[in-house]
């Protein structure tokens, strides 16, 4: 089982492998295809919907699978934006995510907004029902880092910026941790068609039920409690 960990805990080799794999999937067109797919569904059921978390979990899983086709040992790393808040942090080094800004013409403007606080994240983790949890998580923890990075990351086709995947990996981790802390909490549909067994946009044979158990998808997080 792959273990997704904080990008700060990657070894130098793991960091280099991940960067090389990103360059590879850019060259194959995958980065741009996923960005267009995200843009195409942006105003549908993938945001402001109970399918927000499952849809992005499926997207990340598919992206990670493509990286693993290139380098099998790779797992997506995450960016905890409530802890790593500086525009000069190692995340943005030219040896890591920094190099993609100019190379991929991302137009970042780091610091364009305010990142979520760890207090907000803690409060959100304590929410007792899925509908309250995902709605607050999406709006107040997921949204601000998109604007804070700026440029492509603030657009509907934000997966053009590879930091999208590190950001969403953290959002997925928060969901995984919440699920483990609230094992009896049912999936609550935001509207008809956004339920546990309703198809996800783009992948009609996949539903939230298909992705509800991230361990069954073949990965875990470095810490889950």
């Amino acid at each position: 089982m792959g273990i997704r960990k904080d990008y700060r805990d990657l070894t130098a080799d793991e960091r280099d492998r991940f960067v090389q794999a990103l360059k590879h999937v850019k060259s194959t067109g995958l980065i741009d295809r996923f960005a267009q797919m995200h843009a195409g569904h942006f105003f549908m059921n993938i945001h402001r919907s109970s399918h927000f978390l499952p849809w992005h979990r499926e997207m990340l899983r598919r992206f990670e699978n493509q990286l693993q086709d290139f380098r099998p040992a790779i797992s997506l790393p995450y960016w905890n934006s409530s802890a790593v808040r500086s525009t000069t942090s190692s995340l943005w080094n030219n040896g890591f995510m920094g190099q993609f800004n100019a190379a991929w013409n991302l137009g970042r403007a780091l610091g364009s907004s305010t990142l979520p606080t760890s207090q907000l994240v803690q409060t959100n983790r304590g929410r007792g029902t899925y509908d309250v949890f995902w709605s607050e998580l999406e709006r107040f923890i997921h949204n601000p880092p998109h604007v804070w990075v700026g440029g492509e990351m603030a657009d509907i086709d934000s997966p053009h910026d590879p930091v999208f995947y590190l950001h969403h990996c953290w959002i997925d981790k928060l969901w995984a941790m919440w699920q483990l802390a609230h094992p009896g909490a049912p999936f609550v549909a935001s509207v008809a068609g956004a339920g546990l067994n309703d198809p996800l946009m783009e992948w009609p044979n996949r539903t939230p039920a298909s992705v509800i158990d991230h361990h069954a998808l073949g990965y875990s997080y470095d810490s889950e409690n």
Binding site: R48, S113, A154, A194
Partner: protein, 93 residues
């Protein structure tokens, strides 16, 4: 509707009925068929499942008031431009 025009921090914001609206109105057509212009340039936007607006270029700030959203976009764009200018001057210096 009559076009609505506002000034905000030296920028113009206009909301007007989209040209050709009658031809496009159909059963599945969302009701957001106002055209938004900032400094006379059309700005693309959409509506999320709960009816809130988001701009395609500024997609992660949502509100049910399109004029308010346009103002926030202007603030963001000005801030981002200033950050990029500072970064560029730092690289040159």
């Amino acid at each position: 509707m009559e076009p609505e025009r506002h000034e905000y921090k030296g920028h113009s914001i206009e909301l007007r009925a989209r040209e050709g609206r009658e031809e496009r109105v159909g059963a599945a057509e969302p009701e957001e068929k106002l055209e938004l212009l900032i400094d006379d340039e059309s700005v693309r936007y959409g509506q999320l499942p709960d009816g809130q607006y988001a701009l395609e270029e500024y997609a992660y700030d949502w509100t049910d008031n399109l004029l308010d959203l346009a103002q926030r976009f202007i603030d963001y764009r000005d801030r981002a431009d200033e950050i990029r200018r500072q970064a560029d001057s730092g690289e040159e210096g």
